[in-house]
Symmetry: C2
Subunit: 254 residues, 2 copies
DNA sequence: ATTTTTCGGTGCGATAATCGTACTTACCGT
DNA sequence: ACGGTAAGTACGATTATCGCACCGAAAAAT
C-alpha cells in the first residue's frame, strides 16, 4: 500500500473493497478470507470486514468457511445494460444477426487495456462453445474484436494500447511482435474488418467489424468459430452481414 | 445514517461506496454528483470521493459533469457467471430450450426479496421484447418465475417472503392479497409449474418451472409471451419441455 | 441584465472509523 | 500429539474519513 495515491480524491477503503470483490473470478469462485487476503495483499482482518460488508449487502454468500459471489452481483451490470437499452434494442439485433449467420456472435466494448463482452447470442449449431459470457474479457492485441476496436477507435489510444496492452503467447500462432500487431491493425483499418486466425484459440477463426464511426468507435461485433466452419470463401459474406447489423447497432450505442 | 450497524464487522465507507454504485440504474444512467447525493442520502463531498474512486477504477466515466457506468461493471458479474460455468454449460442448454420452444426463455435465481435473471436467450419470432437482460430483477410475488422460486425453495424463507416481499399493483390483475399469493404458490407446488396471467405485464403470460430439488431450489426456468402466443392447449407441452431442460440445468448449478 | 439557484471543488479541524498486531480457538491431516 | 492453516476477537494508535463552510462558475429564473 505504499503506492502514493492521493487520499484527497480517492477513498482507500472503498478501493480495497472493490479489490476484494474483484478477487472472485473464474479461477477463484470459492475463497477463504485468508486466500482473499493473499490475492489482494490486504490485511486479513481488513478483508474480513470488507467481505462481511459484501455479505451484508447480499453480493457474497458464506458457506462453510468459504465465500462466493451471489447472483446479486449481476444487478450491478444490469444498471449499465438497461441504462443503455441493451435488452430492448441491442440484444434483438444481435439475435437476428446470429440467426442470419448461423453462428454465435458477440458485441464487445473497450475496457481499459482489454475488451469486454457486453452482449452475446449463441446458435445451437455452434460446434463448441468458448464459454464466453457477458463480462468476459478479451485481449485487445490477439483477437479480431480487439484489433477492430484498435483500428476503429481513437488512434492515440490505439497507439498507446499497441505499445502497452498485455500480450501473451496464447497459442503458437499468436503475433508476439507489437510492430506486426500494429501492421495487422492497420490492415483492419483499410479492410474495414478483422480476421484473426488461431492467435487466440488454436484452430479458431475470429471475424469482427467495427460498430461506430472511424476514430471514435467504442464497440465491435464479431464471431469466433472453428476453422472448418469458416472457409475463406464464406468470410466475405459473413463480413457483409456483420457490417449490416453493425450499422444498425451503432446509432443505439450513441 | 443513524441506523445502528455494528462498525465492528461492517465497513461503512465500503457500504456507502456500493450504495453509490447502485445509484446508477435504468432510470438514472447519467448522474451528477448532487443527484447521487440526493439519491443515496450521502454527503455530497463524500459522494464525490467515492465516485472519483470508481472513475479511478474504471467502473464509472465522467462526461461533462455527469457520471455514468462503463462496461467494466460487467466484469463483476462475469466472475459469478464464469465461476459457475454459465457460459460453457448453462447458456447452451437455455439456447436449445429456446430453440425447441420457439420462445425466449430465461433463467432466474433468488436474490433477497426479488429474483434476478442470470441467463436469457431470445428467439427472433418473439413478438415483443420485455427488455430484460442478465441482471434484471423481478418481483417474487407477481411473476411465474418468482412464485416458482417460492414454491420450490426453502419453505421457511418462502413464508417470510410471502409475508414481506415487495408487492405492487403492476397491472389491474395483480394479486394484491398475500394470502391469495400464498395459495397460488401452493398451487405451483402441487402442479410443479407456475402460470401467471397478466399480473406482471398486461396481456402477457408467464410460465415457469423449478430448477433443483423441492425445498432447496435456487433457480427457475421460464418464459413470458403475449397471451395469444400461449393458448391454453399449448401450455402443457411448453411445461414439459421446460421441465426437461430444467432437469439438465439443475445438476450444473449444484 | 441581475438575481437566485445549483453545482463542483477545496480546506480543515474533529471525530470516529479504520487499521494492524497479537492472542485465542478451532479444524485438519500426518 | 503436533505443526499448519484459518477464523474470530480485542484494543490501542493513526489516520482516513467526515461534515461543514466557503468559493467560483455556470445555469436558471426573474
Amino acid at each position: 500500500m505504499q503506492t502514493e495515491i492521493p487520499t484527497k480524491d480517492i477513498s482507500l477503503t472503498f478501493l480495497k473493497g472493490m479489490t476484494v470483490l474483484r478477487a472472485f473470478d473464474e479461477n477463484h469462485s470459492r475463497l477463504t478470507l485468508a486466500e482473499i487476503s493473499r490475492l489482494t495483499h490486504i490485511e486479513r482482518a481488513v478483508v474480513r470486514r470488507l467481505v462481511l460488508t459484501l455479505v451484508h449487502l447480499g453480493y457474497v454468500r458464506k458457506e462453510e468457511n468459504r465465500y462466493s459471489l451471489t447472483p446479486h452481483v449481476l444487478v450491478l451490470g444490469g444498471g449499465f445494460l438497461r441504462g443503455n437499452q441493451f435488452g430492448r434494442l441491442v440484444q434483438p439485433l444481435i439475435e437476428m444477426c446470429a440467426r442470419e449467420l448461423g453462428h454465435s456472435v458477440g458485441l464487445a466494448m473497450r475496457d481499459g487495456s482489454e475488451a469486454v463482452y457486453v452482449a452475446q447470442s449463441s446458435q445451437q449449431n455452434t460446434r463448441y462453445t468458448f464459454g464466453f459470457t457477458v463480462g468476459s474479457r478479451l485481449p485487445l492485441l490477439s483477437t479480431s474484436i480487439g484489433r477492430m476496436l484498435l483500428a476503429w477507435g481513437d488512434s492515440q489510444w490505439a497507439a498507446e494500447m499497441i505499445r502497452t496492452a498485455p500480450l501473451e503467447p496464447l497459442t503458437a500462432e499468436t503475433l508476439m511482435d507489437r510492430d506486426r500487431v500494429a501492421a495487422a491493425v492497420a490492415d483492419c483499418r483499410t479492410a474495414g474488418a478483422s480476421v484473426v486466425d488461431g492467435e487466440f484459440e488454436a484452430g479458431a477463426i475470429g471475424i469482427a467489424v467495427p460498430v461506430g464511426r472511424l476514430g471514435t468507435a467504442q464497440a465491435a461485433l464479431g464471431l469466433s468459430e472453428p476453422k472448418g466452419d469458416l472457409p475463406p470463401e464464406r468470410r466475405e459474406a459473413v463480413i457483409e452481414v456483420l457490417h449490416r447489423y453493425a450499422g444498425q447497432i451503432a446509432p443505439v450505442l450513441g
